[in-house]
Amino acid sequence: MAYMSRLSAALAVVVVASASSICAEEIAPLKIGLMLPYKGVYAVPSEGIDRGFQVAIAEYGGKVAGRRIEIIRADDELTPNVGVQQFNRLVQLEKVDLVAGVVSSSVGIAVSGLADKAQMPLVLANTFADEITAKFCSPYVARTSFSANGFLYNSGKYWASHGIRTAVIMGPDYSAGHSFLGAFKRGFEDGGGKVVQEIWTPFQKTKDWAAALTQASNSGAQIIYSFYAGAEAVQVVKQHADFGLRDKLPLVGDHWVYDKLNWGALGELMVGPKFVTTYLPTVKTEANEKLVARYRQMFKQDPEVNAELGYDNGKAIMLTLEKLGGRMPADKSQFMTTMRGLVFDAPRGKIRFNASNSALLEKVYVVQFAKDAAGEPVPQYVDEFAGADDLPGCTKSF
């Protein structure tokens, strides 16, 4: 039993230590928990999202209806278990009013279950897996980006209608990979193309794509359509080039494969391939010019896709809070209902939400990087098409 006394002593210390942090402030700021994988393989995209988010808050002077906005950051380490722990920390210790951010769909699924149980608004910044706002939909969870289907179904159709008849799809073997490439495949085959081979590599466990690329090059397809991000994207693009497949079997993908943030690692390999993206920093709309100007001012560089997604995330939250008069309603699902009613011009186009709280995609661009005079990569507009609707699947109504 003696150990109990030691245990209690230890706990007592913790209680005392935490008691000081409980003291309430008089004009409490609105606290937003921003959960992103700040370290590790998705650290770079996370930084972009975080900066975009900051720009959105700064646009409002960091205040809504006189209430200061406080951002509390948490690192989910790209791991659902850690995500859950950090979510609990944000909600229980930091007493945040809502949680934003989240990149990985796995973490998104894990924490959205928790948000639903805790009745805590969760505004997801990325997490494109279709299920999040379909099978796992919740009145407390919204997504300000778009679904995989919304992005890539029409991309499949686009390539099928631009002379591509056969394709290999290649991607990481996890929900986002399956969601995106599944959407592409449906669109591609609905448009008359044929996916001749599917190659799934274990997510974050694959280092060498030699076997996969060798297989793909022997499939006789016209293109490889792939979905990769971060370190995996860098490796795939480099190894694809190493095998001399750039002309023979182009690697087509989306803005995560040819992410500008991979420029350092990819170098010259960025220039040339066409890919699809949801955001083009050179687009001349008022919303975009505002973002670009402020982003340049704050971070001395141009925003890219991730920054734009972070901006949308922050902007949607700020617009909602503004509508609510800077007050989180007692019934927090009211927050989501309000957000669902928003329609606003984002840098990527008009944002509307569907019935299960997922933002829709208005436009998809086809682009190609070229070097500007300073040798910096600049995305060049090639074509555009509309985004598709989300997959159905949400059985709850809210």
Partner: protein, 333 residues
């Protein structure tokens, strides 16, 4: 084992100067106060502390299981997370694929873990030392790979919607952190009591004999392989229990719960706490969870500091915290 004796001895020694009645009162307070403290925690502390306490208890059950192998029997396993994951997947598959209620899926999962542990233990305990460490690691990687690849387990995405116990017959909702705290507390007390009982039992003393000198245990007439397998099975079931709690706590299970890093962290909790005492794993788990949480609040570079913390513990805390406290008392007396 001997820790309690030492500390109780030290306490009673100090109390010896006082009148008998007072020392009894002190002793009673020493026992009652922490029990009350633990029981009342959700009421007297913050919700966040309650949640931390839940995490500590779950980690404590996991570490207790590992300690049965590492501390008691002297077999260092770097694969116990496989049973943690199996526990979570067991009830996950039970609920979402087979549609079983928890009162069936929990015993079935633990039984399955037991059976698997007999087989895996029989293979692993043929080796010793570093080979044992590596073969347990290999087995856990095998299950980890299977969890990623199998459709049944939903691959890298893992399974969500893991059910918590239905306590509505008590008028309680286990989604409430406070209610869940008492549920985890009950399971933890039960699991740790069982582990403690095993360590203190004749069977447990054979395990200690194996740790101290396996050849001697054989010469005494013990079929050490059976005892080692027995320890492996009991340890694995304890880890499975921790896995079930973990999955229920997060409503979620994915292959990361089987990673070798997690096994390593479990062993580290045992080392931090002190490998020979039943209390060691609980204290180790508490320190581990609190340090990790504390560091991640303080700095974004906590991985570096955590690694350094790790190394310092191994280099300077041979007997863990319990061992350090023990030797402190030994020096005083």
């Amino acid at each position: 084992m001997s820790t309690e004796a030492t500390i109780v001895g030290a306490v009673s020694e100090r109390a010896a100067a006082d009148p008998v009645k007072q020392s009894q009162r002190v002793a009673r307070a020493v026992i009652v106060a922490p029990v009350l403290m633990v029981l009342a925690l959700p009421w007297i502390s913050t919700p966040y502390l309650t949640i931390l306490a839940i995490e500590i208890m779950i980690a404590g059950v996991f570490a207790s299981g590992i300690n049965l192998l590492v501390g008691t029997t002297g077999l260092v396993s770097l694969g116990q997370a496989m049973f943690l994951g199996l526990g979570g997947y067991g009830i996950g598959i039970g609920a979402s694929v087979l549609g079983l209620p928890l009162w069936i899926s929990v015993p079935a999962t633990l039984a399955l873990i037991g059976v698997l542990a007999v087989g895996i233990g029989a293979v692993c305990t043929r080796t010793r030392g570093v080979e044992f460490l590596l073969i347990t690691l290999a087995f856990s990687q095998l299950f980890y790979g299977a969890a990623i690849k199998l459709r049944l387990t939903n691959g890298s995405d893992g399974m969500s919607g893991i059910p918590r116990p239905d306590l509505s017959f008590l008028g309680l909702n286990s989604d409430n952190p406070m209610v869940f705290y008492y549920y985890v507390l009950a399971v933890t007390v039960l699991a740790v009591a069982v582990v403690w009982r095993v360590v203190e039992s004749p069977f447990g003393s054979v395990l200690a004999a194996i740790r101290e000198n396996e050849r001697r245990a054989v010469a005494m007439g013990y079929s050490v392989d059976r005892y080692k397998i027995g320890a492996f099975v009991l340890a694995s079931i304890a880890c499975g229990v921790a896995g079930i709690l973990q999955a229920q706590y997060t409503y979620f299970i994915n292959p990361d719960s089987m990673s070798w890093q997690l096994s390593g962290e479990g062993v580290l909790m045992v080392i931090i706490g002190g490998a020979t005492a039943v209390t060691g794993p609980l204290i180790g788990a508490a320190v581990f969870v609190l340090v990790k949480q504390g560091l991640s609040v303080l700095t974004t570079e906590y991985m570096m500091f955590f690694g350094i913390f790790f190394m310092l513990v191994v280099a300077f805390f041979r007997g863990g915290i319990v061992g350090a406290v023990q030797s402190l008392f030994e020096k005083k007396s």
